[in-house]
Symmetry: C2
Subunit: 437 residues, 2 copies
Amino acid sequence: MENRELLGYSGALLIRDTIVNGVRGDIFIDDTGTIAGSGEGIARKYHNDADVTIDGNGSIAMPGLVNTHTHAAMTLLRGYADDMVLQDWLAQKIWPLEAHLTGNDVYWGTKLACLEMIKSGTTAFNDMYFFMEDAARAVDETGIRAVLSYGFIDLNLPDKRENECRATERLVTSIKSMNNSRIRAAVGPHAIYTVSPDGLKWCADYAASEKIGIHIHLSETEKEVHDCISQHGKRPSSHLDDCGILTPSTVAAHCCWLDEHECALMGKRNVNISHNPASNMKLATHRAMPYQLLKSSGANVCLGTDGCASNNNLDMFEEVKTAALLQKFFWNDPTVLPAPEALAMAGSNGARALGTGTGTLAPGAPADIILVSTMTACNTPLHNQTSNLVYACSGASVHTTICNGCVLMHERHVLNEEEILRGSADAAVQLVRRSSS
Amino acid sequence: MENRELLGYSGALLIRDTIVNGVRGDIFIDDTGTIAGSGEGIARKYHNDADVTIDGNGSIAMPGLVNTHTHAAMTLLRGYADDMVLQDWLAQKIWPLEAHLTGNDVYWGTKLACLEMIKSGTTAFNDMYFFMEDAARAVDETGIRAVLSYGFIDLNLPDKRENECRATERLVTSIKSMNNSRIRAAVGPHAIYTVSPDGLKWCADYAASEKIGIHIHLSETEKEVHDCISQHGKRPSSHLDDCGILTPSTVAAHCCWLDEHECALMGKRNVNISHNPASNMKLATHRAMPYQLLKSSGANVCLGTDGCASNNNLDMFEEVKTAALLQKFFWNDPTVLPAPEALAMAGSNGARALGTGTGTLAPGAPADIILVSTMTACNTPLHNQTSNLVYACSGASVHTTICNGCVLMHERHVLNEEEILRGSADAAVQLVRRSSS
């Protein structure tokens, strides 16, 4: 089979000659998209069962990365406005443009996001935005995994709250009806400053009744903390806890300003924390998520890129490095967040947060696999594979991306790449045109 | 001419259909390696003069980036030790390994560094290390520009000082005898805590007499400031100034802990400042270079990656983004270091610091040009080219690298890439073996 013909292939697949958990070996994927065997001697054992073989050429095999907080369709706003104060940026640039968003825009923006993630080794993401049925269609077509939530914003208005509840229910019903194991719904209360306590409680109850996750922004800015204390007489995490939002299926994004008690609460409730270092730096939150406190509390600390309006890309390799650097710098200790922990945040911790498998290459795990080339400067020399992956490589060193056993990228080629780039670029131009006419 | 045959081509060259200073146009390079024309209509004007044409395919043309502070051969130590306290890291890992370094190691490490820079769009760098004649040989072969300095360290010992003076003179003589316009020498007093005042004064005098630059580390850590005050009764910049080190041809790296008076002094002396944000974050310097103060003082603020032991790559696109993010975060203002200023640090400011041309695409400038693909996710949409280059793209989006009119990379192919990767990987393995036997 020619290399380009591998794109879209889904079936029994043998990856030969790759580094698996530090040892030269192979991986066999069965026709259900599950890893049947991995490690030394696997090629010998399974060579009769494989319809198709990929030569790994000594590349590093690793589980696909998991982006636990993004707004995928905001790829359309990449570079539209930067270097501004948060409130001006939102009020003058982002919201006026978003007011003109259509389902078609979200479809193309999400397609572009999926393409970008496939090309940089991410196989699952946690999304919150609008027109999410269109986002689901884009995810379905591009072949990666996603947990999709509608951004629930009631602004303390009862009528609006009813509207948001119905929109949330519609999305959950719609996604369940797709019956696609790669795509799941979550409930997405936007944040404590945009959702009323009644809205938060409804979200918590509805998520529990539907047995789905919750996706929320938490303590991104110091202002959020101050406002919460003066409005509710408690810090944001306590407020969320009182509304039932803190659960083992909740992903709380940012968490820059959590204090010691809040970190302990996160551990106690087994909450998943999505660290978003690039976005926090760019928007100057002025405090880094307290990684050490959260880790020792037992919370599951993961990683996310946030949306492209505030990052401005979806490269989780870049985000891993930024996380490791920011934690060391802000907490004034070069031993904080060492490379193996940083990589786990982007991989197995994220998989646990989203429930998308083990985030390992062990037999029985879903075949969400990326191959990272070792014939590149970033992996030369190879004193320490984990160090190179965290500190030296970018997403561009990913050579092959497989999700659910399907080959989505090989030798850096992706199906319909040019069509997606042109379609999304066109949607972005039209969106800006509509908003300025 | 086939695309791969373009590699190493040096002669009259037309680049068609590229974005030059925001406008669709072309660039014509004459056979001296100089830009003869750039902008709209250039293809029409020069098409009879071009022996060879490159189709830019709508890519963004920009001046090659300039890395103003690195230790190139430390690519061999990439990933050898991370996540350690500075003193342990140096004393237990880096210095013991460096004690076994040979000229052959530096040759291969510098080759690897040049390859990595070519592949990520850097066409000139400022280097300080040992066995610099071997570094010069590597730079000569790979085709980019460098300013090379021997790391002068006398540890306050008169005998050692004599030795360092002679080593410095030998390197300068050797590089001048190469008569290669791409390679120049500088004087490299390592830092105030490793070089005596007499050593610093000798370096200043010798640099002036040879009309060459100075490359030094300055105020990387708070300890350096405290030690300097207790030893010399003044802050590091005043000490350097008293030794004659602060000149318009001096590049001072790091500068994290400069106070307001020191920033003013840097402006007054027209010193070039190399900001190294990734290294500073990784090693937890706990303070970011005071960009606003330095900028308003009139100092020339540039960018550098530092060596691969503390970064761990040489991707200046990544470094530009890290600089913009760190400045905003540390100084608590998202408007600090906006994208155009960040890009200038990595380009024209760096070119001015090293004296390697204008850092522009204007006629008369040396043809140090990179083409950045627009058919990539990071440049889709293209609302704002500068924003995308700073916040979204990595060095991997560079498609073509030209230095001094010679095509060093095209369609991401570089001459002898595999040989360089294998040779340097082998040198690194042998070095670790020697040091542990």
